[in-house]
């Protein structure tokens, strides 16, 4: 009888260990922000202007945490530039958080791909990235027109991801 109870205990412990995700990568974890109102986001941009997320209420917004030193960020930049160009008319705004980066390198990279320096906030200390709960670069948050976080993408954004997640939120 007590051996049975012990076996049960071990079994439940093993199940608990497996079900709580021992061995899972942090990157698989959902953001605590999804379904919540977006955190505040305001400051100076790479063009020297100021930008406040509050002013974009009513637009669907992609908040993209990036840096020029991050190779996968270079990979996704053309996708983001194309999304802004192709879907801007339907209410999409792409806002960058250029985190812990050299401003010159960041502006050069944007110039290379036709990105807009007035849409990327500078984040020299990484404070904005922490305020958004970002665990790395690139990382992208999708906000609906009401300012609620609808999805979080870790790693480079793809055209497919934009089609599947962003397009359904936009005006037809």
């Amino acid at each position: 009888m007590s051996a049975l109870a012990l076996a049960g205990l071990v079994g439940v412990a093993a199940w608990l260990a497996l079900s709580t995700g021992l061995g899972r990568d942090l990157r698989d974890l959902p953001s605590g922000l999804v379904g919540q109102p977006a955190p505040a986001l305001a400051g100076r941009t790479l063009s020297g202007d100021s930008l406040d997320l509050v002013d974009l209420r009513g637009s669907v917004v992609l908040v993209n945490v990036w840096a020029a030193w991050c190779a996968p960020c270079r990979e996704e930049l053309p996708v983001l530039v194309a999304a802004q160009r192709g879907l801007g008319d339907r209410g999409l705004r792409v806002v960058g958080i250029d985190t812990r980066d050299g401003e010159r390198q960041a502006r050069e990279l944007l110039a290379e791909f036709g990105g807009d320096p007035a849409s990327s906030l500078v984040d020299p200390q990484g404070r904005l990235a922490v305020q958004w709960g970002a665990i790395g670069v690139p990382e992208t948050f999708l906000l609906d027109a009401a300012g609620t976080v609808r999805a979080r993408r870790i790693g480079p954004v793809t055209a497919q991801w934009v089609d599947d997640n962003v397009v359904p939120l936009l005006a037809p």
């Binding site: 899972r24 942090l26 990484g126 305020q131």
Partner: protein, 294 residues
């Protein structure tokens, strides 16, 4: 007589256990702002290097998190409000001491079950003891079972050590194989390293290397170990022979580059760039890229 000794021992142990429970659940006296920043930071997992706390990590994101903690405490928010702020953004995994619900529940409840149940077991009449032991096991199993049912939020699911800081982690990428020569010394070295006893770990790696001269894994681990203990010259010397034979071994290139950087050698930049070219997907790559920008 024997029984009296056993009873005294049991009472002492029980008393110590109760004291431990009381200490772990009673808040301490008010602290200075800096001490509170340290305390809150120590309870937060570093966002990009989950094996470390925000208080000890040198990663840039951990410095940013610490600054955030300080700003919020200065603004008059309480420690638990700050913790909740981080958990809202990152999920509960960011808390190093998980809350008493979901997956964190058994950690909080099991000690109580053990102390109370163990005490009851001792006090139970001898002929009922085996039945009481079964009851205790069932209670513990019940706690675990309830907890796993209650764990519905995937945000509660946690694991330390996914993306890791440059030195500690890259070293853990390749554990010494179990049946290689010097495997025992190597295992001892890893255990010592995990316990933070770096000098002794370095000695153990060196004796493991005597049994397996030039072993690349052991040499690289020795190199990381020496880097962590501040011996950059030793670290470079540890990986140089490996690099002569295998110039493209990314981890060895990384050790050399970090060692060169620590000694102010201008060769550090090309070496680290070579590491990035060899292992762009390495967990250390982002941090190395960042180092190169400074």
């Amino acid at each position: 007589m024997k029984r009296a000794t056993a009873v005294v021992a049991a009472l002492l142990l029980g008393g110590a256990a109760l004291l431990g429970l009381w200490r772990s659940t009673t808040p301490s006296a008010p602290l200075s702002l800096q001490a509170r920043v340290e305390q809150v930071s120590a309870g937060l997992r570093c966002p990009t290097c989950a094996g470390e706390s925000v208080a000890v990590s040198q990663a840039a994101s951990a410095r940013a998190a610490r600054a955030e903690v300080q700003d919020q405490l200065e603004a008059g928010r309480s420690a638990s409000q700050v913790r909740a702020w981080f958990a809202e953004r990152y999920g509960v995994w960011v808390l190093l001491d998980p809350p008493a619900r979901g997956a964190g529940l058994p950690l909080n409840v099991l000690p109580v079950v053990a102390v109370v149940g163990g005490g009851a077991l001792l006090l139970a009449p001898r002929r009922h003891r085996s039945r009481a032991a079964v009851a205790l096991c069932v209670a513990a199993a019940g706690v675990l079972g309830l907890a796993s049912v209650a764990t519905t939020s995937p945000a509660d699911r946690t694991r330390a050590g996914a993306a890791v800081p440059v030195v500690a982690a890259a070293a853990s990428a390749s554990a010494p194989s179990s049946n290689a020569p010097g495997a025992d010394a190597a295992r001892t070295a890893v255990a010592l390293e995990d316990a933070g006893r770096l000098t002794e770990a370095a000695q153990a790696y060196r004796s493991a290397l005597e049994a397996a001269p030039g072993d690349p894994t052991l040499s690289v681990r020795l190199g990381f170990d020496l880097l962590r203990s501040g011996d950059a010259d030793g670290a470079a010397a540890a990986v140089r022979p490996v690099l002569q034979r295998a110039p493209d071994l990314a981890q060895a290139v990384l050790v050399l580059g970090l060692a060169q950087r620590a000694t102010g050698d201008p060769a550090a930049t090309p070496t680290l760039q070579r590491f990035l070219a060899l292992a762009p997907q390495d967990p250390a790559a982002a941090t190395v890229q960042e180092l190169l920008l400074r």
